[in-house]
């Protein structure tokens, strides 16, 4: 099973080890701390790139699987694996952490800051790679701690309120997840006599309709808060707003994906019938999120809150793609998770640059910046257009796949979601006009162009935005086999268990459904 180098275990332990190293090193030397942070996160990136290269496309199953029994009596094991759905989330995480550390400015040399960031990276990577539900849960919860301390330690004015709200809200929702996991494992043990937390074995558990729905709700509660999905989102504008730049990048870029990833990995895999039953509800929440997020974003005067609500809208697209249950929509959702991570991170970093120069996030205080810093304005424009979904940049491909795939099975949801495309243009262009257009006042006189250092960590993001817009093939080729496997699994289980009166059981394909409308 283990194919040579243990990429995945190293991916998780490397940043954790670096965090530990930071903890024991003397805190005086800020340069040393910075170096450890860079080295740890860049080495992790190197391993992630190597794992991506080693990943064989065309195979939809888990690869590089590592299983080490941990608590054998309880069936808990250190089981890691990667497939097309998690691969690029891992790579994106590995890219965003060094970038976020680069964008964190002065406190990039604080000992505890570096340590928390590295630990957070380990938690995120562990969540994406775990095949064992309990190990997943531990990593999933572990991520809360560093974020809490990052917000309270290096955040803005209302950091205490924001951090507490974030922590308690997500922790509360996770309680449901833990109960769900234990119940599922219990049911599985009853049926087979085997106690295991391995998601691959638990997928074969037979669940009655009610059991499935209840377990689905328990799991989804945690993921819906984490993502967030409307109406469980109100912690996020506060948390994003009060976080330091690096925290906001990781929260919106990486940790939001823990929620949507959890839905795709665990809900779809473990409760296909409940997913099919409740898909209209989740699709509706997704669509509401798209429209509602856009509308609320349109009246925000604070750039970070604006991006937070825009994020809610974009996550709505991902949720729609996940529950449309077609190949294109689900592939689009996975791709869009990566896309959203990249351009949202870029937006938060750009906003942080503005704050560093002028000390404000408010559109009321900012004007005419394009005159002072055309290059920075150009990068902002590119990122904004990617976020709007202009073709040729990365946001378009994901959005197009999601919407065209959703249209096949859930036409009217897709139509409503398409309206979100209009709204996205309104709030982002409005904000751009307020901040970058116009004539600079004396306040903006001191505004300076993007520095080389800032350009250095923006460059990979800009490159990815353009590359994935023009040439997403290499990424999609690795995503689709896993997505196809999952869609087939959902259709198979969901339809096989439904007694079809008077006719043989046929796995009705979505295209046939669509054609009859």
């Amino acid at each position: 099973m283990n194919t040579g180098f243990p990429y995945l275990t190293v991916l998780v332990l490397l940043p954790a080890g670096a965090a530990l190293l930071t903890a024991v090193l003397p805190s005086r030397s800020r340069a040393l701390m910075r170096a450890v942070g860079w080295a740890g996160s860049l080495a992790t990136l190197g391993v992630a790139v190597a794992a991506t290269v080693a990943f064989s496309s065309g195979d939809g199953n888990f690869q590089m699987v590592t299983v080490h029994p941990w608590i054998s009596a309880l069936g808990i094991s250190w089981a890691l694996g990667v497939d097309g759905i998690s691969l690029f989330l891992v790579l994106m995480t590995a890219v965003l952490f060094p970038v976020a550390m680069g964008g964190s400015g002065r406190h990039g040399g604080d000992k505890s800051f570096v340590a928390w960031m590295l630990l957070l990276e380990a938690g995120c990577l562990g969540s994406f790679l775990s095949l064992d539900l309990l190990v997943f849960f531990l990593f999933f919860e572990l991520t809360l701690v560093p974020v809490y301390f990052l917000i309270t330690g290096w955040g803005y004015e209302r950091r205490g309120y924001a951090a507490t709200k974030f922590f308690l809200y997500t922790l509360g929702a996770s309680a449901f997840l833990l109960v769900g996991i234990l119940s599922l494992v219990g049911l599985h043990a009853q049926q087979t006599g085997v106690t295991t937390f391995d998601v691959r074995q638990l997928a074969s558990t037979h669940l009655t309709g009610t059991e499935g729905v209840l377990l689905f709700l328990a799991f989804t509660a945690a993921f819906a808060v984490k993502a967030p999905i409307f109406p469980f989102h109100t912690w996020s504008p506060d948390a994003y707003r009060e976080s330091p730049a690096a925290g906001a990048v990781v929260l919106a870029g990486v940790m939001a994906k823990l929620g949507t990833y959890g839905i795709i990995r665990f809900d779809l895999e473990l409760f296909p019938r409940a997913v099919v039953t409740l898909a209209p509800v989740l699709l509706t929440l997704g669509v509401i999120g798209i429209i509602y997020g856009g509308i609320v974003a349109a009246v925000q005067r604070d750039l970070k809150r604006l991006v937070a609500y825009s994020s809610l809208a974009h996550l709505g697209f991902i949720v729609v793609g996940a529950f449309a249950l077609t190949g294109p929509a689900l592939s689009g959702a996975v791709l869009q998770m990566v896309n959203h991570g990249i351009y949202t991170a870029a937006l938060f970093l750009l906003i942080a640059m503005i704050y560093r120069r002028l000390g404000s996030f408010s559109t009321k205080d900012l004007t005419g910046l394009q005159r002072k810093a055309p290059v920075l304005a150009g990068i902002f424009t590119l990122t904004m257009l990617a976020s709007i979904g202009v073709p040729g940049l990365n946001g378009f491909v994901g959005e197009f796949l999601i919407l065209s795939g959703t249209f096949l099975t859930h036409r009217w949801w897709a139509v409503a979601a398409t309206a979100g495309v209009i709204v996205a243009a309104i709030y982002l262009l409005w904000a751009y006009q307020q901040v970058f257009h116009g004539t600079p006042t004396e306040k903006e006189e001191s505004f300076t162009e993007i520095t080389w250092r800032e350009g250095l960590y923006m460059a990979p993001l800009v490159g990815i935005i353009v590359f994935l817009g023009v040439f997403p093939g290499p990424v999609l080729n690795r995503i689709t086999p896993s997505v196809d496997r999952l869609v087939t699994h959902v259709e198979h289980v969901a339809h096989a268990n439904i007694p079809a009166p008077g006719q043989p059981v046929v796995a009705a394909s979505h295209s046939a459904n669509g054609g009859n409308k």
């Binding site: 332990l13 922590f167 077609t326 495309v421 997505v483």
Partner: protein
């Protein structure tokens, strides 16, 4: 040599890339020359490919070139590549040709602008996008170009972004276009659902399985996209505001090329429209209505660029009318000739605006013909051409459209004929106000302080609140000191050469598709394999064609005469410039009052009440409830989140350490 097709959009894209990296180092005027050369190369390549296509037999003049697989999931395959056929090459030829001339002109026009390299960078990106739009081999490639030109239009309208009006106009254009784009997207989803493909040729081959209602829906959704891009009712108001952009931009993007993309799209999907006559009906009616409404508004505008903008809206309406009735060749014919004379009109207007130190109000111009003979002469040619005076290009192309309209419905013809009279009239009014009569700018400038733009009439001052009257520019974007007396004169050769070339095309452009004898209709024979023959006037013989030609000529001359008699000496005639028309039928105003303000209010309410009070209120209320009910457990719970956090942390560290030790043991 057909394989060189990929170079057509590539040259301007390379120009764009070079200017992004080194535009500022190249500077003025080198950056402009580089951009012009790139578009020129693209034009030459287009000519070569066009010639190669021409040499082939008529049935073999269509081929696809696939560059790479853009994205592909399940049956959804979207390749990056082009479709080379007579329609796309005709479009590419006039787009590159007109673009080259306007690039050249811009070198002179933007001479004093501090953002000179950036202007050409956007312009090259625009040309590349426009070429992808017309050459795209599938709906998604066309959409790529479609959005690309929209984005460039946004950049270029807001080019002088320190003027709030320009910034707002750019945003407005983008948002109106996005509304149309939603229609385009939905059409693509429906096409994919019904045919399993988005490649033009595959889709058209499978139309038999699609079903009538779906075809109508697809056609109308794409038309919704077209109304946004091509400024048709009800999504037209952005185009008038788009005049905030530099004048070469108005000529290139908002007259000759981008705004015709919707018409191109209708011709491209002609196989769908053939099978969906109901959709054609809607398109023809909207087109006819837009042609008429646009022309009436143009009659009462005072800003030279606004007159031309509403004229463009009106002419585009004609083109949609033609496409709606199935006369695709007529639509393309009008598009080509319109590109010549409308670009000419805008470039002429640009010369005038330059000469008048950024004055755009026709009421304070006058008497420029003698001072600017080349500009005046070419503007006169353009007026007669767009007015439909024989034998200028517009006479033939507009006549073709009207003839087909008659075959479809006499009512449509009457609407078109009325518009024809108005067209000859309002441009005549414009010409008279600018080029003949007294030189009113002499006293206007003498009384003004030289820095603000002098309005001759106090009545006009009150109009600054009017969204259809140009806002004062905060700073003259280009130009020498505006103090002292004006000395209007023709611009240098880089600006006059394009004027003369376009004037030549406006005179002789009709030659590509003359009626009367089947051997003269070159354009029709060239395009027919793509768009098919769809004439609704089979009963019209050569005799009736001549009768209609005579009627057209009389209508045009009537309009010209009307303009001459009313505006030869007069400057103000409120009786023919009613406020209702000056304010553009109050359409934009009502959008602002009814839609924009109410939706802003609604959004504010959503944020302040629904979000903050209801949803977040519930969350915080729950937290308060929890804290109060938890007094019993207070001894166990410290209530400090950091203690919980550290507790979790400590537990996890221990567990992970154990995991690690087991992993490596």
């Amino acid at each position: 040599m057909l394989h060189a097709a990929f170079l057509i959009p590539l040259f301007p894209l390379v120009g764009f890339a070079v200017l992004v990296v080194g535009g500022r180092r190249l500077g003025n005027p080198l950056a402009g020359w580089l951009a012009t050369a790139m578009v020129g190369l693209s034009f030459v390549t287009t000519v070569v490919v066009f010639a190669g296509l021409f040499e082939r037999a008529p049935g073999r003049r269509s081929f696809t070139q696939t560059w790479w697989n853009w994205f592909s999931v399940d049956r959804l395959h979207v390749s990056a590549g082009v479709l080379v056929d007579p329609l796309s090459m005709t479009m590419a030829l006039f787009v590159t040709g007109v673009s080259t001339l306007i690039h050249l002109y811009s070198i002179g026009y933007m001479e004093h602008d501090e953002q000179f390299p950036k202007f050409f960078l956007y312009l090259n990106l625009f040309v590349s996008s426009m070429l992808l739009l017309v050459l795209g081999g599938n709906f998604v490639m066309t959409f790529l170009g479609w959005e690309g030109v929209g984005v460039c239009s946004y950049f270029l309208i807001a080019f002088w972004f320190d003027r709030p009006s320009a910034a707002s106009a750019g945003k407005k254009a983008m948002i109106f276009n996005r509304i149309g784009d939603a229609g385009f997207l939905l059409a693509m989803f429906l096409i994919y659902e019904r045919t399993g493909s988005l490649q033009y040729q595959t889709v058209f081959a499978r139309l038999g399985h699609v079903g009538g209602d779906s075809l109508v829906a697809i056609a109308l959704l794409l038309f919704l996209g077209a109304t946004g891009k091509s400024a048709q009712l009800p999504l037209y108001p952005w185009l008038a505001d788009a005049m905030e952009g530099p004048t070469p931009v108005s000529a290139l993007i908002h007259a000759a090329t981008m705004v015709t993309a919707g018409v191109y799209l209708m011709c491209r999907i002609s196989p769908i429209l053939h099978l969906a006559p109901d959709a054609g009906h809607v398109i023809a009616i909207i087109g006819g209505a837009t042609a008429f409404v646009g022309a009436t508004i143009a009659c009462a505008q005072t800003d030279i660029k606004k007159i031309l903008a509403y004229s463009t809206i009106s002419q585009l309406g004609y083109m949609f009318m033609a496409a709606g009735v199935g006369a695709y060749v007529a639509a393309i014919f009008l598009m080509l000739t319109h590109a010549f004379y409308k670009a000419l009109l805008f470039l002429g207007a640009g010369s005038v605006i330059h000469a008048m130190n950024d004055e755009q109000n026709t009421k304070v111009m006058g008497g420029l013909r003698a001072l600017m003979p080349i500009t005046g002469g070419t503007f006169l040619v353009a007026w007669l051409a767009i007015g439909g005076v024989p034998p200028f290009a517009g006479f033939w192309s507009k006549g073709d459209v009207l003839l087909n309209a008659w075959g479809y419905s006499p009512a449509l013809y009457v609407l078109g004929a009325l518009t024809a009279v108005l067209t000859a009239y309002y441009l005549g009014r414009c010409y008279m106000l600018v080029f003949s009569g007294k030189a009113r700018w002499v006293e206007a400038r003498a009384t003004g302080d030289g820095t603000s733009r002098g309005h001759a009439e106090p009545a006009l001052e009150a109009d600054t609140s009017n969204p259809n009257v140009p806002h004062e520019r905060i700073a003259a974007p280009a130009g020498p000191a505006s103090h002292g007396r004006l000395h209007p004169h023709d611009p240098g050769w880089v600006m006059t050469v394009p004027l003369v070339v376009l004037a030549f095309c406006s005179v002789f452009g009709g030659l590509i598709n003359l009626p009367f004898h089947p051997s003269f209709v070159f354009l029709e024979r060239w395009l027919n394999p793509v768009v098919g023959r769809a004439l609704f006037n089979p009963h019209l013989g050569a005799g009736s064609e001549i009768i209609f030609a005579v009627i057209d000529a009389v209508l045009a001359l009537f309009g010209v005469a009307l303009a001459y008699s009313l505006w030869r000496t007069a400057v103000y005639r409120r009786e023919v410039e009613p406020t209702f028309l000056e304010r553009a039928w109050f359409i934009d105003w009502s959008y602002d009052r009814l839609l924009a303000r109410n939706s802003t209010r609604m959004a504010a309410f959503t944020s302040a009440v629904v979000e903050s009070r209801v949803i977040d209120g519930a969350v915080n209320g729950f937290a308060v409830l929890w804290r109060r009910s938890g007094t019993v457990l207070r001894r166990v719970q410290t209530g400090y989140v950091r203690n919980y956090a550290l507790g979790i942390m400590a537990g996890l560290v221990v567990l992970l350490a154990w995991v690690a030790s087991r992993t490596f043991s």
